[in-house]
């Protein structure tokens, strides 16, 4: 059994993920080409991310069960990052200090078009799962 598969099954047994999520993760692991995650492999992933997805499954007190599914093309994210290079330096400093005051240690100056593909590549493994009693939110890329 591969390490990834074992970790997924452990998470399932600990109740951290649902059976559906485990199935999806295992399918994703199986789909991954052998050796792609191994050390020293710098080969780019053949599968290119196309969409940024936000899925919300909530229970609205007024309207009952609500499902929202948003799919934004990754092209928009790329264009948005390129647009940040036109933000004046003063505005950048203000943004950085505003984020720092909220406890987010992020430097907008690091967001450069030349780093864009690296950033998007990292989104391959990016998933946000919020499981609240009234709502489930999932943010991921595909």
């Amino acid at each position: 059994m591969s390490e990834n598969r074992r970790q997924i099954l452990e998470m399932l047994s600990q109740g951290k993920i649902t059976a559906d999520e485990a199935e999806r993760l295992i399918a994703a692991v199986e789909k991954e080409p052998a050796g792609a995650t191994g050390p020293g492999t710098d080969a780019p992933r053949t599968e290119k991310l196309k969409y940024f997805r936000v899925v919300v499954d909530a229970i609205d007190p007024k309207d009952g069960p609500t499902k929202v599914n948003v799919r934004v093309p990754m092209q928009l994210l790329r264009a948005g990052v390129r647009l940040t290079s036109f933000i004046p330096p003063l505005a950048r400093e203000r943004m950085n200090s505003a984020m720092k005051s909220k406890g987010i240690d992020f430097d907008i100056n690091q967001l450069k078009p030349e780093n864009l593909e690296d950033l998007i590549e990292q989104l391959n493994d990016f998933t946000v799962d919020i499981d609240h009693e009234d709502a489930k939110v999932r943010v991921f890329c595909e």
Binding site: Y51, P65, K67, N69, V70, P73, L83, F86, P88
Partner: protein, 88 residues
Amino acid sequence: MMPPLVAIVDIYRKADGRTFHLWLPIVLLWLLFLPLVLLLLPIVIIVGLIAGIQIFAAMGAMLRVLNGLNGTNVEIDQAGRHIVIHLV
């Protein structure tokens, strides 16, 4: 790549099984904006020169943002209604 030309809106009402299928031509919106952009261009160029912003590069980046909207899909399922908005 082009900015989205049409917004397809589908509204499905589960109660009576009716479906509304709308094609909204966003291209008309761009055509309306075009003269406005041309009118404002000299002012924008002057402001850009003062502020030290490369206006044409910025405009190109903004155009790319508009182009990036192409393919956006929003689905909402609530209170017996299913709404799909798709930009193409």
